[in-house]
């Protein structure tokens, strides 16, 4: 995450900007919890992306027969096998890739859509603002989780569908946030200057206002990835998410639930992985927010 945050920052690099990034990085590296979060995330990424290169087992290969089921951890299967005699470690790798990918792409898309709506509302004001914000308010007053499940249950069980469902219910807070920022930013002189030289509304919104909301949006995305991972896991846990044989941490947990009596360790691994990843994103996001602007409320 640290690399991504920096990369996103470097895009708008100028001599002044660089020192800003340097300052943020300096504060970030001194934030103990943020660094703990970064370490957790790096370890998780290594586990998920490098792990399969080291431990080359097929996550879907089944050992037929009763002797393959619920094997305890051994040399052949470091984390044991599940109810179909599949290697749990390999499933953890590939399930983790899916969970992380869904978490990352839905959080980023939700932030971008929220930013788009927030910029429109904040920049144009008037009836556009009214309309968009009433809609945002309405979406915020619907209990998200039940509708998320309803939508997931009819949308089909693919990865892209789940990402879409999470995005549909995830953009509102970013829209409010960006709208608030845009309202104050558009009063600043550089925006007036841009308007004076004839910049179009689109250009002002995306070239002048948007970059100034980026720091805040990176923080909100970082924290959003954590909650998206939880959403994905919850959807899969209720059986409406990623479907077997494809693994995700959520559906591994759902599958393990029925074997709580004979193989409790199958519950421990995927849940622990979700927990550590989400904790890492929360720690890191919190530190990033403190480093960017301690007064920021997210």
């Amino acid at each position: 995450m640290a690399e991504q945050a920096v990369a996103a920052k470097k895009k708008q690099k100028s001599s002044e900007d660089y020192s800003y990034v340097g300052m943020v990085l300096h504060r970030l590296t001194r934030h103990k919890l943020a660094m703990a979060g970064a370490v957790m995330l790096i370890l998780m990424m290594l586990f998920v992306f490098v792990g399969p290169l080291v431990w080359r087992a097929d996550p879907n290969e089944q050992i037929p027969g009763i002797e393959g089921m619920f094997n305890p951890p051994s040399q052949a299967h470091p984390l044991g096998t599940d109810d179909y005699g599949r290697d749990v470690l390999a499933r953890m790798f590939f399930g983790g890739r899916i969970s992380l990918f869904i978490g990352f792409s839905s959080a980023v898309s939700a932030t971008l859509i929220g930013a788009f709506i927030g910029l429109l509302a904040g920049y144009y004001g008037g009836w556009a603002d009214n309309l968009l914000m009433r809609f945002t308010d309405a979406m915020l007053s619907i209990p998200t989780f039940p509708l998320l499940i309803a939508l997931a249950s009819v949308m089909g069980k693919g990865m892209w569908q789940i990402i879409m469902v999470i995005v549909v219910f995830g953009w509102m807070s970013d829209a409010r946030l960006v709208r608030g920022l845009a309202l104050s930013l558009k009063e600043q002189e550089y925006v007036e200057a841009a308007r004076a030289i004839g910049a179009s509304a689109n250009r002002i919104m995306w070239r002048h206002l948007f970059p100034n909301t980026l720091a805040v949006l990176i923080v909100s995305t970082t924290i959003g990835i954590g909650s998206s991972i939880i959403y994905e896991a919850s959807i899969s846990f209720l059986g409406f998410g990623i479907q077997a044989p494809l693994a995700s941490w959520g559906n591994m947990l759902q599958n393990a639930q029925q074997f709580i009596w004979n193989a409790p360790r199958l519950i421990v691994y995927p849940g622990l992985a979700i927990f550590i990843t989400v904790l890492g994103f929360n720690f890191f996001g919190d530190g990033l927010r403190d480093a960017i602007d301690p007064k920021l409320k997210l």
């Binding site: 619907i142 509708l147 249950s153 947990l253 639930q257 904790l279």
Partner: protein, 328 residues
């Protein structure tokens, strides 16, 4: 202030309409429950068609919405499909007290624990206590409840046993069957055991976030000039914190408390499902995935309505506790 409240109340009407339409349109995507009946050779085709027509499933969803909505205006929320013979309102009314009991206890308990901890954590910023509290709040906030619930169940219902060999805590449900007629205290102790795990699971995560809110609100106040003035005047530290600082630090918390009240009614779907609690959360999920849209709509509208009302209450309370806020 009066004009403001009137304007806000009028503003609720379109808001509730949007919420209704959005929820209804999502539920309309759930397949028609009667179509599956065609597979059953014992049911006559004409009967199925009659059912579909009676339920309005022959109409497009927006027309069905009007059919449903005209009933709602007359106070008729329609029958439940999941529990034939009951009206959707009765089904919700049965689940409501269960959820309020679990969530209400959890809500009060987490506030009682979190607020003092948050205050201490802020007053002793950067101390060991503060770090421990911060780490634990994050642990709570990041904990997936479904996993934590299962882990607790493993601990208290699988591994830990009473001398009699029975599990230490019951794995799910609300009460031991057969104790319905028992004396009050027996029932009380019995039902309390069923509440321990769900309440702990839910409280762990909400204590985390309440502590964070309280801490940051307190930190903001403690930095202000009038606190320094109070200290400079020689007001005892105890009084500075408990009187000068706390009163102002609680203002945003009061608002947040008001905003969280609707959650008590909405229930916690996943925890309820894990611990087999027949509450609102699990009922709504079951209703919407099994095409029982009348029941799901009653549940969702109740929660959304409360969210909207408590938003207004939060704003009013905010102006009431903080005289600097004026609505015009």
């Amino acid at each position: 202030m009066r004009d403001y409240v009137i304007r806000r109340v009028l503003g609720m009407i379109p808001l509730i309409l949007i919420v209704m339409i959005v929820s209804f349109s999502i539920f309309s995507l759930v397949p028609n429950p009667f179509a599956a009946l065609i597979e059953n050779p014992r049911i006559k085709k004409a009967d199925i068609e009659r059912l579909i027509k009676a339920w309005g499933f022959d109409l497009p969803w927006y027309l069905r919405f009007f059919k449903w909505f005209s009933g709602v205006i007359k106070g008729d929320w329609g029958p439940s499909l999941l529990y034939p013979g009951s009206s959707a309102r009765d089904v919700i009314a049965r689940a409501l007290p269960v959820t309020i009991r679990v969530m209400g206890i959890e809500f009060l308990l987490s506030l009682l624990i979190a607020l003092p901890i948050g205050i201490i954590s802020a007053v002793k910023q950067y101390s060991v206590t503060d770090y421990v509290v911060t780490v634990f709040s994050f642990l709570g906030m990041s904990m997936p409840t479904f996993w934590f619930g299962l882990m607790m169940m493993m601990l208290f219902s699988v591994f830990l046993k009473r001398p009699s060999g029975a599990p230490l805590l019951p794995a799910g449900g609300m009460m031991t069957p057969g104790l319905e007629e028992a004396p009050f205290w027996t029932r009380f102790v019995d039902q309390l055991q069923y509440l321990v795990m769900p309440v702990l699971v839910l409280a762990f995560s909400s204590v985390g976030s309440w502590t964070r809110y309280m801490r940051s609100s307190m930190l903001e106040v403690v930095r202000q000039d009038y606190i320094r003035t109070a200290r400079a005047k020689g007001v005892p530290e105890r009084l500075v914190i408990n009187k000068h600082a706390l009163r102002n630090a609680l203002i945003p918390i009061v608002t947040l408390v008001a905003l969280s009240v609707p959650g008590i009614v909405g229930g916690a779907s996943i925890t309820e499902k894990i611990f087999n609690i027949p509450g609102m959360g699990s009922l709504i999920i079951a209703a919407e995935t099994k095409s029982d849209y009348p029941t799901a709509m009653v549940g969702l509208m109740l929660t959304s309505f409360l969210v909207i009302v408590f938003n207004l209450i939060a704003d009013i309370v905010y102006a009431w506790v903080d005289p600097r806020i004026k609505y015009s």
